[in-house]
């Protein structure tokens, strides 16, 4: 496995490759290697997410002998710096200059939506290891887009259901003002049966929540539900505790704001918090136990749910290439193969819906002691939502 920066190819080299490829395409033999363009947020307050996805993806490739689907894999990693325009340019470079076979990696929905056309308009499959916005599950669904993570609304639908189970009657909602934020609170409201006493959209990337916390204090909700991934969540929870609100209001979270990347910086205040996710480090299936052990060995830290998605991303691409026997030239065959690719997901059972979004289980987790003085997520055995798809699949008219 080589994780290299993009290298311009010389004119002569291109000519030689061009002739060679022409010959190969005619013979319809397997390609000699597979190129993946990996663009993610690797710097800034929310970099932990992109770094985990990348690390897990590269780990799987390494565990597989540097190969995906039996072909040597070249993963071109670059940093979108949390900027949609940068991501767009990186996608353009990977697709048009480096001629990658797959694009993947982006964490945030707004960044992905800005860059995605560069891939899907050029028949390059994009596998999303994270962002999976609701329009792309419904009316904007596209045959070149696959989400290997979850539909954006899912964790929040699960949380709303959990809030019902707990008999909670009033909620105050906070999320960043972008597609995923909108999806998250829509998802919670879809299942939650109580009253919404406040709905506040903050600026994406905002770090100071003094104003919002004052409003929450004034509204006096029974439970506060926030979707604030990465650095946003870390800052919010710290300031929430600092403002003394933890004593008056219960905090309910999606897994995005309660995983290791938040537990570390926030610390003991996280203990006992409930959150929902599709995966937990304590899942007992064989694939997961191997994944967690290898990740800990390689990187000396516990993987987050983002890492689990990066790992499954690589597994999915691996299984897809094996299904086409290494033929990367027939793009339509590749995407059809991906729809039904079989692999041992670390989350347990996994399958794609007709809109190429997952159908899977969602669980409630709680942050507890890991036995070594630290904190880790522990899941309840029974899923709160079972074989759950998404609310938008009916609107999707997916071509063959």
């Amino acid at each position: 496995m080589t994780a290299s920066k993009r290298r311009p190819v010389s004119t002569l080299g291109k000519a030689v490759l061009g002739i060679a490829f022409a010959g190969l395409a005619v013979a319809a033999l397997a390609a000699d290697k597979v190129k993946i363009g990996f663009v993610s947020t690797l710097s800034g307050p929310s970099s932990a997410l992109g770094v985990d996805i990348r690390d897990a993806f590269l780990l799987y490739v390494k565990m597989n002998g540097g190969k995906l689907g039996g072909l040597p894999a070249e993963v071109l990693v670059s940093d979108d710096q949390f900027k949609p325009d940068v991501a767009r340019q990186l996608f353009e470079r990977n697709v048009k200059r480096d001629h990658v076979d797959f694009m993947t990696g982006v964490v945030f929905s707004n960044i992905m939506l800005a860059a995605l056309p560069e891939a899907i308009d050029n028949k390059v499959i994009y596998v999303s290891p994270n962002a999976a916005p609701s329009p792309m599950a419904g009316k904007d669904c596209n045959p070149w887009f696959f989400a290997v993570s979850w539909p954006n609304d899912a964790y929040h639908e699960a949380a709303g259901e959990f809030a019902n189970q707990r008999g909670l009657k009033s909620v105050y909602l906070v999320a960043p003002n972008y597609q995923a934020g909108k999806d998250s609170l829509a998802g919670f409201k879809r299942t939650f049966k109580g009253q919404v006493v406040g709905e506040n959209y903050t600026k994406l990337g905002q770090l100071d929540y003094a104003a919002e916390l004052a409003e929450i204090r004034a509204a006096k909700p029974q439970v506060l539900y926030i979707f604030l991934p990465g650095g946003m969540g870390i800052n919010f929870i710290k300031q929430f505790v600092a403002a003394g609100l933890g004593k008056e209001t219960m905090l309910l979270l999606p897994g995005f704001s309660a995983d290791q990347d938040v537990i570390g910086p926030v610390g003991p205040a996280m203990a006992g918090l409930f959150n929902t996710a599709h995966w937990s480090p304590d899942f007992t299936n064989a694939a997961n136990q191997k994944f967690v052990a290898e990740f800990r060995k390689e990187y000396k830290r516990t993987p987050t749910l983002y890492a689990s998605q990066g790992y499954d991303d690589a597994q999915l691409i691996d299984a897809t290439i094996r299904a086409t026997k290494g033929n990367l030239a027939d793009k339509d065959a590749l995407r059809r193969a991906m729809r039904t690719a079989k692999f041992d997901s670390v989350r347990g059972p996994f399958k794609f819906n007709t809109n190429q979004y997952p159908i899977q289980n969602y669980y409630v987790r709680t942050v507890g002691s890991d036995g070594h003085g630290g904190l880790i997520n522990k899941s309840f055995n029974d899923p709160i939502l079972r074989d759950h798809g998404d609310a938008y699949v009916q609107a999707c008219k997916m071509p063959k």
């Binding site: 920066k5 993009r6 311009p8 004119t11 291109k14 000519a15 061009g18 940093d79 900027k83 949609p84 325009d85 767009r88 353009e92 470079r93 048009k96 200059r97 707004n110 939506l113 800005a114 995605l116 056309p117 003002n177 972008y178 597609q179 600026k203 994406l204």
Partner: protein, 315 residues
């Protein structure tokens, strides 16, 4: 034909021949880079008109770029694809905005003018941010592009390149005519010494306003082009750091020179492209180059070229 005209003609020929050459070399990815240079050359040349010839230092010129971009983007997202409609709307919208902003700003002088252009551009930045219906701070992705008469779609790389080339060529031609016209001499007079110009009875405020509006509209056109190139707009196009980048291009290329905008845009964008392949710290080196130019080579690339080829001539 003198040296300058010969050079211009040669440059035009080279630019016309670029797409087929790149295609033959299999490097058509770089056509996108060339197109981006053309778009920013249009923007930087407009700023050069304002700053270099008009003597007005604006820290908010990117606002007009952004306005032109958003006007086009909004029309495209509502299904209006006609390039002529886009052109008209951009000229009117950016024209009105620059007229209003110019009329107010030109009442101030010196450092206050710099500050007020900054204030207006930040106002527009936040205005665009506030309109969630067209993306707000998430920006707006567009799946279609402008259509030109004759069935030309700007989605096609070659078509876009030639369209941008035509716009730039026209702009440079107009600038050339302006510089050598009577109005151009008036403007340069009041750039050099405003007090004396006023004493001579020249219409200072009106002349400056005309230049301000013209520069604004030209920049707006660059913005409209950029939407067709990127397929994406965001409020960041109006951020003051974008105005700073345009200023950098003008300085690198040569303030108050005809080719300064193009040379500066090409220099900065090529530096970014080449250096970013070598190191992730490319802005560090670009910063030093810029600092060097500001401190030691005030007339930028155009100045250096001129002293190489025509050392006796002084504009």
């Amino acid at each position: 034909m003198n040296a300058a005209r010969l050079a211009a003609f040669a440059a035009l020929l080279a630019a016309l021949a670029l797409p087929p050459v790149l295609q033959a070399a299999g490097a058509d990815f770089y056509l996108g880079t060339a197109s981006r240079i053309l778009v920013y050359a249009v923007a930087a040349t407009s700023l050069n008109l304002l700053l270099g010839y008009g003597g007005m230092i604006s820290l908010g010129h990117a606002a007009f770029f952004g306005l032109g971009a958003y006007a086009t983007a909004i029309l495209l997202s509502e299904g209006v694809q006609s390039g002529l409609v886009h052109l008209l709307v951009v000229i009117v919208a950016v024209g009105v905005a620059s007229l209003v902003i110019g009329a107010i700003s030109l009442r101030t002088r010196g450092v206050y003018f710099i500050m007020i252009t900054l204030a207006f551009s930040q106002m527009l930045f936040y205005l665009v941010n506030s309109v969630k219906g067209y993306g707000g701070d998430e920006g707006l992705t567009l799946r279609v592009r402008s259509l030109l008469p004759g069935g030309l779609d700007l989605r096609d790389g070659n078509t876009f390149y030639y369209c941008a080339l035509v716009v730039l060529a026209l702009e440079l031609f107009l600038l050339h005519r302006f510089v050598h016209s009577r109005f151009g001499r008036v403007v340069r007079a009041l750039r050099d010494d405003e007090v004396r110009a006023e004493a001579l009875g020249l219409p200072v405020f009106a002349s400056k306003l005309v230049v301000f509006v013209a520069a604004g509209i030209l920049c707006g056109l660059a913005g409209a082009l950029s939407v067709n190139l990127q397929g994406y707009v965001s409020p960041n196009l109006l951020h003051w750091t974008q105005s700073g980048t345009l200023l950098v291009m003008v300085i690198l290329g040569g303030v108050g020179t005809l080719w300064g905008g193009l040379l500066g845009a090409a220099a900065l964008l090529l530096m970014q492209e080449l250096l970013s392949a070598q190191t992730e710290y490319f802005e560090f080196w670009i910063g030093w180059v810029l600092l060097g130019v500001v401190l030691f080579a005030r007339h930028g690339l155009a100045g250096m070229l001129r002293s190489l080829f025509a050392p006796k001539v002084r504009s």
